[in-house]
């Protein structure tokens, strides 16, 4: 059984799997710890294990941490979930995972756990018992409880863990977060959507009050929790003397095909382009050069696959003539709903005809307002 699965792994990965065969031979439960803090590499590693490892007779726990990132669920709308402009300025990327659920903020103070099982053995309650059991072992008397929505609450009120899952044909994974010492100020400032007027069928997130375990008790550091989680898992899933195996997702030799997976997960077409169709209906506050005169315009945008499918601008005719506004709207169709594409289009559009100074300023202001939505 073990030999057959090794052959499978070799056939898929194509090269030697240092460390992994020995680890896989130890039995039915295995704990892996990722050495990477790149959210895309870790998400790709999750997919790789799900797709390539034989999980019918074996259970795996993957422990991972990322540098700052916002991770949205499979069918969510990043424009509806977070402040994309602030994230671009701060260099915090958006990642889209393959499991469902809501948006979470990751940083090194947040622990991620992924429980890999066969489809038959998929049991989220059992997995969460590992987490609550570990915390209770570290700090007896701590009030942590899993809810029926598979969140974990501290003191019955603060959310310290959220869950999501992905079910394939024969295998499944359930992953959850665990807030140890995350940067809560950054979390709350980034998870504040700024694009107004979005109508969408995308899965919405339910915001909850959160707290760090470290704030509750200084002994609950990410490393101590990590260690205890591994112990608890190996006990729960019946493996004696197992150890935590470090893995490096960037290793293409061991994880054949992972580079391509990382590139796909990083691509804009996946992170933003995979958003279900949505529309934006909002008003724009327009100003003149010195801010002395003001006006309002309405804009209606339909975005599919992350690209503008339709754009309608209604600007008062005494503020700007209708012709240039319609031209601008038609130029935006087909562009990504993202300033990196629309700002150059607006700049090129502004040059396309000589205009008097007043009209040029107002058009420029209109362009700036539209681009700021994205």
């Amino acid at each position: 059984m073990v030999l057959r699965s090794l052959r499978v792994l070799r056939a898929q990965a194509g090269a030697s799997l240092s460390g992994l065969p020995a680890a896989l031979a130890t039995g039915s439960g295995l704990v892996l710890r990722s050495l990477s803090t790149d959210v895309f590499q870790n998400l790709a590693l999750e997919d790789w294990i799900h797709d390539n490892v034989d999980l019918q007779s074996r259970n795996i726990l993957l422990l991972w941490r990322n540098s700052s990132a916002v991770v949205v669920g499979r069918h969510q709308n990043p424009w509806q979930e977070c402040d994309l402009r602030l994230m671009r300025r701060s260099g915090v990327p958006v990642a889209r995972r393959r499991s469902g659920g809501g948006t979470v903020f990751h940083d090194p103070g947040n622990l991620n756990l992924t429980f890999f099982t066969s489809r038959k053995n998929y049991d989220r309650s059992r997995n969460l018992r590992v987490v609550t059991g570990a915390l209770k072992a570290l700090r007896p008397g701590i009030n942590v409880q899993a809810t029926d929505r598979f969140d974990i609450l501290l003191d019955g009120h603060y959310k310290i863990s959220g869950t999501a899952a992905k079910l394939g044909r024969t295998a499944a994974y359930h992953h959850c977060t665990l807030l140890c010492s995350a940067n809560r100020r950054l979390l709350s400032s980034l998870l504040r959507p700024t694009c107004p007027g979005i109508h969408s069928n995308a899965t919405a997130s339910l915001p909850s009050p959160v707290q760090n375990l470290l704030d509750h008790d200084p002994s609950l550091t990410p490393d101590s929790i990590l260690h205890q989680l591994a112990e608890q898992y190996l006990t729960e899933f019946g493996v004696r003397g197992g150890r935590v195996v470090p893995v490096q997702p960037a290793d293409e030799q061991t994880f054949g095909g992972i580079d391509r997976s990382v590139a796909a997960l990083r691509s804009w077409d996946w992170t933003h382009g995979r958003t279900p169709k949505f529309s934006v209906d909002t008003t724009l506050e327009l100003t003149d050069r010195a801010g002395s005169e003001i006006s309002t315009a309405t804009v209606h945008l339909e975005v599919k696959g992350g690209r503008v499918e339709r754009c309608e601008l209604a600007v008062p005719p005494d503020w700007l003539p209708g012709g240039p506004c319609m031209e601008l709207a038609s130029l935006l169709v087909g562009a990504r709903f993202c300033p990196s594409e629309t700002a150059p289009i607006a700049a090129a559009f502004l040059r396309s005809k000589p205009r008097n100074a007043g009209e040029e300023t107002r058009l420029g202001n209109l362009c700036e307002n539209i681009v700021a939505l994205m």
Binding site: L332, I345, A348, K353, P354, G364
Partner: protein, 480 residues
């Protein structure tokens, strides 16, 4: 050669399929009563015309955890698509779990029972699939179990002690083309042989270039979807710009930035351009720059030649403000712009962008260098905003950083002048003593709007600019 081979394959295929069909019918006749009573009594069976396969309703199987309904989030197939067993059909969501539903059969999708965002019920039909293998495909009801095998599949080919796994459709394709399954490398899960493996094997044998498999449409979502199917070579899925040999013309509409550029360039070429070129000896500037680089980098700013070129241009514009002007649509008025917002044409991933440094007349060389660093960083990360990209009054294009000597730049409206800098070359020149020396030579090509600027003005401006750069100490006299 290929034609001959293909011919012979065809005849063999016809011969074999004739035999195979007869065998099929024979088998089916023998087995049908047993099949229907045991496996198919619980299934709806739509009878269709003789040469189409039966249409089977694929029901949404139990997700587990007592869930009775899910939301269909995304379809990976549409009606008319061909699917293989285990191809992904759709993605459904239930309570934070995203579930991939895979096909149980090979066949053609005939009907989708739900649209995206509809609620689907467990146990009710999800899709109708027209199978092409007939009643030989007997599947397990529960998707949760290990892969469903038909009775025929259980009789694996045991060759060289290896079991080869393949669906009946794949086996028939192999048989029709006289291919031994043991010779084919399976790329499916657990070494399973897929239809693509047979097709690739065939392609290698006949040297034929096969059209891209329509299964690309229904590949598992983790693989990057190829953009178009027009190239007859299988599309590469990596992002590196490999030269792609296509045998067909590809037409696509101009969108977004390219459409806007068409309008801009059309407006630009309405301006009557004239050109003026010269060469500048930057030997002294090169020495000055290498002295100042260390100081600048200590302050955290990279110093290139551009800040000097930009500052020298601004100093020149103070003497020749007509070059920093704009003419209105009716060509009635000229507006002399107060601010020197000097743009620098950049080749970025977003395309040709011209961000500008605002108010150069008020900035020192170091300030300009710092602003350029900021703009270059933004350009590299695709974050240049409208305020950086608009409001320019004069432009320099550093095409020489990529290559070239003399150029014929196009003026960017509403400006009236532009300069293109060629690459800096080390060339032999005579100095004032008549000695042959190595000189750092840069070629500059100016274009200007001949409606309001004449050759003499351009020439004098260029001379002044050149003088500042050839003798950088003279810039100190005029710096504000």
């Amino acid at each position: 050669m290929a034609a001959v081979t293909r011919c012979s394959f065809n005849s063999v295929r016809r011969l074999l399929s004739h035999h195979y069909k007869r065998r099929c019918v024979f088998k089916a006749n023998k087995q049908t009563p047993v099949f229907l009573s045991k496996r198919y009594n619980a299934r709806l069976f739509h009878a269709t015309s003789a040469w189409h396969g039966p249409i089977l309703q694929f029901k949404l199987s139990d997700i587990g955890e007592g869930i009775m309904e899910v939301v269909v989030k995304e379809w990976y197939v549409k009606e008319g698509d061909k699917v293989s067993q285990f191809d992904s059909i759709c993605e459904v969501q239930s309570d934070k779990a995203s579930v991939t539903i895979t096909s149980r059969y090979d066949g053609i999708i005939r009907r989708l029972h739900y649209a995206a965002d509809d609620t689907a019920l467990v146990g009710k039909p999800l899709v109708d699939i027209e199978t092409d293998t007939g009643p030989e495909v007997a599947q397990e009801e529960d998707v949760v179990e290990t892969p469903a095998m038909s009775r025929e599949e259980h009789t694996h080919q045991e060759i060289k002690g290896q079991k080869t796994q393949a669906t009946p459709a794949v086996r028939r394709l192999a048989l029709e083309n006289n291919i031994k399954l043991s010779e084919v490398v399976g790329t499916g899960k657990d070494g399973r042989i897929l239809k693509e493996d047979i097709l690739n094997f065939l392609a290698k044998q006949t040297g034929a270039i096969l059209p891209p498999s329509p299964f690309h449409e229904t590949q598992r979502p983790k693989e990057v979807q190829p953009a178009t199917q027009t190239a007859s070579q299988p599309a590469t899925q990596t992002a590196s710009p490999k030269p792609v040999l296509s045998t067909q013309d590809v037409t696509e509409p101009l969108k977004g930035f390219h459409k806007a550029m068409v309008k801009t360039m059309t407006a630009a070429l309405k301006i009557p351009h004239f050109g003026f070129c010269d060469e500048v000896d930057l030997s002294r500037l090169a020495a000055l720059r290498s002295d100042l680089r260390a100081i600048s980098e200590a302050r955290g700013v990279k110093l290139s030649y551009m800040p000097f070129f930009i500052k020298a241009a601004s100093l020149g514009l103070l003497h020749f403000p007509i070059l920093n002007a704009s003419i209105d649509e009716a060509c009635q008025n000229v507006t002399y712009k107060a601010a020197h917002n000097i743009g620098l044409a950049m080749d970025t991933s977003q395309g040709l962008l011209v961000p500008n440094v605002k108010n150069v007349q008020l900035l020192s060389v170091f300030d300009i260098a710092r602003d350029l660093n900021r703009l270059q960083a933004l350009g590299a990360s695709g974050q240049l905003g409208t305020s950086d990209l608009t409001g320019g009054t004069f432009t320099l294009s550093n095409i020489g950083s990529i290559g070239g000597t003399y150029a014929k730049p196009v003026i960017l409206p509403p400006e009236v002048a532009i300069g293109a800098l060629g690459k800096i070359q080390i060339l032999p020149r005579f100095d004032s003593n008549g000695q042959l020396v190595k000189a750092h030579i840069l070629n500059i090509s100016w274009s200007a709007d001949h409606r309001i600027i004449d050759g003499a003005t351009m020439c004098r401006f260029s001379n002044l600019w050149r003088q500042y750069l050839e003798n950088p100490a003279s810039m100190v006299l005029d710096l504000k």
